[in-house]
């Protein structure tokens, strides 16, 4: 018999339908993967299951009994715990206080029994072979990966029958991610149901028994994991075929040099970077992580200091801070790595996010022209196909992919024609990824010059015209044409004597 049965589940936020008639069923003792693009309704679904949000319509049965939790406590009382992607941890409490928060063992005086709490913590961490954590450490001193692990311990502390893991591996280093995958199997073997959400197909493949695919708030398909191909899954996730993921690569580069970098060096990791980026070109930057890619982008944008020469459209420039980097048609614009922290004001509207940094462009005689602003915003929203109810919708309520499009819009409105894209598809769903690649090619065709870094190597291979491979802070090789391949990039990144 199924442990959880969901029928006709619906949820709206204002005019936006997050879930419509979704179904789901899963058994005890299985790892059940939940797949879908960003905005497909996965998050809403698990928020409902974990009691953080209440559903509008439909029914959920747990053990055949009606389930409609009023709050996370009620969900826990029925044996359901969630490991949230945004984490539910308290920065000013210690690791163990966080793990047992609101379920602390108590003394006769009703105070927390610290000795007992320590004993239970060590027992829990030991039972599941947790990575070493110090129970007395304050949470705000921990790295993101460590916090993620504490969140997992907190979920397990409730000894749940149903554990929801929402992208729990995404912030973990490889070894810890591998640990979590094994842990997941172990939990299922103990007879628990693990609902597993991940964007990494290989992980899903490695541990899931079955998988349910969501799209646009509805359930599209349920599969036995070993009876379906990756291609089928992706096709069902995005509702069309994947062959359009990478756009056709038509060479649009001219002979004009948009950005020339000579001998760029810095205290941190850059030692003599040389390259030239041409008008109409998409130039990839690859290599193993931590060989200066990030520092290169920061130095070009003026966010960190570096020596050497930078020429924009033939003119030497010095970029001391991001403000100087931005200005005008000869400028540089950056899509930053951490879009929530650096690129986007989540509590501001799409319109404000797009136009804040370019307010001069629609100011007439010192007054703001709302008409001009509206026209520019509409042009961008249409051009980028940003899916927002109205331009006044708050950026924080958009899906990850649409947030990224807003950042692109913001960047394009600066009129800069040299674009620095640092991992622009990170955390973006497959469908939007395709749109972003197409957009990059379109921009290149219009004469933009694009420097593009991705932590996902196939993206470099399929989108860039040329790829710079960085090693030890300089360009170790420049790959062109047929030589651009994952193997080629890796070889240049790892082998000292590969000729540039």
């Amino acid at each position: 018999m199924d442990l959880v049965t969901v029928k006709g589940l619906s949820k709206r936020y204002g005019g936006i339908v997050a879930l419509s008639e979704a179904t789901f069923s899963a058994r005890a003792g299985e790892v059940h993967a939940l797949l879908g693009e960003n905005g497909a309704g996965k998050s809403t679904f698990i928020q409902i299951l974990s009691g953080a949000v209440r559903h509008d319509g439909g029914s959920i049965l747990v053990d055949g009994q009606d389930y409609r939790p009023a709050n996370p406590d009620a969900a826990q009382a029925r044996g359901i715990a969630a490991v949230f992607q945004e984490l539910s941890l308290i920065p000013d409490l210690s690791v163990e206080q966080n793990i047992w928060f609101r379920h602390e063992p108590r003394t006769l005086l009703r105070t927390v029994n610290r000795a007992e709490m320590r004993r239970k913590t060590l027992a829990l961490l030991d039972k599941y072979n947790f990575p070493a954590l110090r129970p007395d450490q304050e949470l705000r001193r921990l790295t993101l990966a460590e916090r993620q692990i504490v969140e997992i311990a907190k979920g397990l502390a409730k000894d749940p029958r149903i554990l929801i893991l929402d992208e729990a591996t995404s912030s973990l280093p490889a070894r810890e991610a591998e640990w979590l995958l094994k842990l997941t199997r172990q939990l299922a073997a103990e007879g628990r149901l693990v609902i597993f959400i991940s964007h990494r197909m290989a992980e899903v493949r490695a541990i899931a028994d079955r998988l349910t695919i969501f799209r646009n708030g509805s359930t599209i398909a349920v599969h036995e994991a070993n009876a379906v191909s990756d291609n089928e899954i992706v096709t069902q996730m995005i509702g069309r075929h994947l062959d359009r993921l990478y756009p056709e690569r038509i060479a649009t580069a001219t002979d004009r040099i948009a950005l020339r970098v000579k001998g760029l060096s810095s205290d941190s990791r850059l030692s003599g970077v040389d390259f030239a980026l041409r008008e109409g070109e998409v130039l990839g930057v690859g290599g193993l992580q931590g060989h200066g890619q990030r520092e290169l982008f920061q130095a070009l944008f003026g966010a960190s200091k570096a020596s050497g020469t930078i020429e924009l459209w033939g003119k030497p420039v010095s970029i001391a801070n991001p403000r100087q980097a931005l200005t005008g048609e000869d400028g540089i614009a950056l899509v930053p790595e951490d879009r929530r922290g650096q690129g986007l004001l989540l509590t501001k509207s799409v319109r404000e996010n797009l136009t804040l940094s370019v307010i001069k462009r629609f100011t007439e005689n010192g007054l703001l022209s709302r008409q001009k602003e509206a026209a520019l915003v509409k042009e961008m929203v249409d051009f980028l196909r940003i899916k927002a109810g109205t331009p006044e919708q708050l950026a924080g309520t958009l899906s990850g992919g649409n947030q990224q499009k807003v950042i692109f819009g913001k960047m394009l409105l600066t009129q800069a024609r040299v674009l620095l894209l640092y991992d622009p598809t990170r955390g973006v769903d497959v469908g939007t990824k395709g749109e972003i690649f197409q957009l990059m090619r379109d921009l290149a065709a219009r004469g933009y010059a694009i420097l593009f870094h991705s932590s996902d190597m196939p993206e470099l291979v399929h989108v860039a015209d040329r790829v710079l491979v960085m090693r030890n802070g300089h360009v170790a090789a420049t790959l062109e044409g047929d030589r651009i391949s994952e193997a080629g990039i890796l070889r240049a990144a790892m082998l000292e004597n590969e000729a540039a």
Binding site: R27, G29, E30, G51, A52, N71, P72, D73, Q76, F84, E86, L87, S88, L89, I90, P91, D92, L93, Q97, F101, R102, E104, R106, L109, R110, T111, V112, Y128, N129, F130, P131, A132, L133, R134, Q137, E138, R140, R141, L142, T143, A145, E146, I149, R175, E176, E178, W179, L180, K182, L183, R185, Q186, A188, A189, D209
Partner: protein, 341 residues
């Protein structure tokens, strides 16, 4: 099910992570406590100067006197500390203290049972009005600053209606409570110790931890199952209760009621907490620091007196000390963040 047939590989423990290095992080602990230590240092300095200018400073009598002078502020600041740790602020304690003193000064009689009943009524009223603050903040989703500013004004008005000018009186035996002695220590000193004991207990209870957690990160607390409305109700209720307690104690010192006296405790209660290292952003702080802060603010008055300078220098000195404290915490905060990035 096919699952059970697969051999399950036990999850292996991965290598040690970055923050898990064994040993005690002394520097981190020191930085965390820097604002509190600075407050202690300031108090020691003030006491030292005071002691060098005045004889008999290091005596039980002096301790009894200074504690009596500081205790009203300490009681008010205890409630304020709980609210600040929750990440809020309570301005209404000014109104509550005024209202408490005028009720006492107009209703207390020589009959102990009537007086006791009214004293309990004042405490209950304090809790209820505070709880109402909490309720309004949750229901209307308004800033605590605005809600408690409004209730302050209302309570102030009500106090004025009951007793338009300073006056009234409380029974002599009630005033005697403020000077009762046990083992050479007067009741204010015992109350101070009781406050510390209360805090030691309260901060280790689930309610105390939940209030701190909600101040530290409200969203996370909610996701962990905390009812934010309930936390607000208890937090502001306690603040009102302590403000009412402050009012009752104040009448043992003044022997009368005043419809305006409460405003003198609003900002000093926040200042005492901040000097003692309580964060205005919630989640961090201890009552011990607040009580030290209250002592610092009170003794500044004594110091100005024995230095024979104009009493207008007292607020100037208080302000400078407040600035120094805030500076100390922000420097410590930055140093701590620099280490964690």
């Amino acid at each position: 099910m096919a699952i059970a047939e697969q051999p399950v590989e036990m999850a292996q423990r991965p290598a040690e992570m970055k923050s898990a290095k064994p040993g005690i992080d002394w520097r981190g602990r020191l930085l965390d406590r820097a604002p509190f230590l600075v407050a202690c240092l300031m108090l020691a300095l003030i006491v030292a100067i005071y002691g060098s200018l005045q004889s008999g400073v290091f005596s039980l009598d002096e301790l009894n006197l200074d504690t009596a002078a500081a205790l009203t502020l300490m009681l008010a600041a205890t409630g304020q500390t709980i609210v600040l740790v929750r990440g809020g602020i309570d301005l209404s304690i000014g109104g509550m203290i005024s209202l408490g003193t005028v009720i006492a000064a107009t209703r207390f009689t020589d009959d102990p049972s009537t007086t006791a009943l009214w004293a309990l009524a004042v405490l209950a009223l304090g809790f209820l009005i505070g709880a109402l603050n909490g309720l309004l903040i949750s229901l209307l989703k308004l800033q605590p600053f605005l809600v408690t500013l409004a209730t302050w004004s209302i309570l102030n008005g009500v106090a004025m209606i009951i007793l338009p000018t300073d006056g009234g009186s409380v029974p002599a035996w009630w005033v005697g409570f403020g000077y009762a002695q046990l083992f050479g220590l007067t009741s204010p000193v015992w109350m101070l110790l009781a406050l510390l004991l209360f805090w030691w207990w309260f901060r280790a209870t689930r309610v105390g931890i939940t209030i701190q957690a909600t101040g530290s990160n409200e969203k996370s607390a909610f996701l962990s199952g905390v009812s934010i409305a309930r936390v607000n109700l208890i937090t502001y209720g306690l603040s009102g209760l302590f403000a009412a307690g402050a009012a009752l104690f104040l009448t043992t010192q003044t022997g009368a009621g005043s419809p305006t006296i409460g405003k003198d405790y609003i900002l000093p209660s926040v200042a005492a907490a901040v000097i003692g290292g309580v964060s205005l952003f919630g989640g961090r702080g201890h009552l011990a620091g607040t009580l030290i802060g209250a002592f610092v603010l009170t003794l500044i008055g004594n110091l100005v007196f024995v230095l024979h300078v104009s009493s207008y220098w007292q607020p100037v000195a208080s302000g400078v000390i407040l600035l120094l404290s805030v500076l100390a915490s922000s420097v410590a905060e930055k140093a701590a963040r620099g280490r964690v990035q």
